[in-house]
Symmetry: C2
Subunit: 212 residues, 2 copies
């Protein structure tokens, strides 16, 4: 038991160290020597758990997806309207991009793989499917207008979120990503909210459709 706990602690330290190295350097510049130094473990311990840099990158991406999925499931389980959940998921993901080294590293690794060798559609498809179901529900709940196509909306939310965090990264190192996510939702809401629905301040604090 004690040995197992120690192995798990080592594994966590390695993934944390790998995340900080991948987030800062990207995949191709990262070295296993840097990871073992950042994790505070010997190279022997590192090689015991991971055979290659690619193994390590996959473990970081898996851990990122686990963190994002856990946060998403927690929001989906709340007693809230679907439209509010859509906004809350984007806010959560935005905060994780700023605060969670594993999420930062995971998105960088996914973007690297997507843009430069092997497209990785799964994370986008997963997220589009969740948003599509919520948009459908938001229409049923009378918050999203009947003319809005849930597929188109889900695709546009995921695409624009992807661009918002990316442009924020290039222009400010993601310092303004939370603010930009709020602006994104202000524009979206102005176009999609049902004309009969008056969104009060209690719907979701901080949420205001932009006035045209």
């Amino acid at each position: 038991m004690v040995l197992q706990d120690r192995a798990r602690a080592t594994l966590e330290a390695i993934i944390g160290g790998a995340a900080s190295v991948f987030a800062a350097q990207g995949y191709s510049n990262a070295s296993l020597a840097q990871v073992s130094a950042a994790a505070g473990v010997t190279k022997g311990a590192l090689y015991f758990h991971f055979k290659s840099k690619e193994d390590l990158a996959r473990a970081v991406i898996d851990e990122q997806r686990r963190i994002v999925r856990t946060g998403g499931e927690e929001i989906l389980a709340r007693d809230r309207p679907a439209l509010a959940k859509m906004v809350l998921m984007c806010r959560m993901y935005g905060r994780q991009l700023v605060n969670e080294p594993v999420v930062k590293a995971g998105i960088r690794l996914t973007l690297e793989a997507s843009a430069f060798s092997d497209p990785v559609p799964q994370p986008y498809e997963d997220w589009i499917a969740v948003m599509q179901a919520l948009a459908e529900r938001g229409k049923q709940e009378g918050h999203i207008g009947p003319g809005v196509d849930p597929d188109d909306l889900a695709g546009f939310i995921v695409a624009s979120f992807t661009g918002v965090q990316m442009v924020s990264d290039v222009l400010t190192g993601r310092k303004d990503v939370i603010q930009r996510i709020e602006e994104m939702w202000a524009f979206l809401l102005a176009g999609i909210v049902h004309e009969d629905f008056q969104m009060g301040a209690d719907f979701l604090p901080g949420l205001v459709p932009a006035a045209a």
Copy 2:
């Protein structure tokens, strides 16, 4: 004169060859041997014009920016409302991303540099500035509502366009990018068009705000 023409033709062939190699392989996998083969020029001719792969990548990015800028200036010079020009610029850029190897290669090289080593904010800032000026003018012309902040709108258009073309690339190899750009504008228009402005079919063919 004849010699000068031949030098110019060689230069164009090299940049075209470099664009096709960079677009397909990315910067780090591309080699000068592949470029000389794709361009149909000897390595000697290639080295006469370019000292390194980095030189070649810069030349492709410069040529991409020239193509995009030329197209943008042509649209800005038209006798059209500013809001129509904003849409036309996004459509033009979308078509160039599909049809122009130099633009395809240039955006890939810019994304690689942005995401993985040295952020390249200039192209984003240039484009945000143009959109900001057009949004301001669109408000004066009574097409964009008075409550819309031109800075926020310009930032969101550039960010969402960036994400739209990127997600389209990952999911369909940009096969649906033109359709996604139209969807993006349908959502944007639904939120930003002045409430007193009835956008007729003559405003811009194909342009319809999404109904909420």
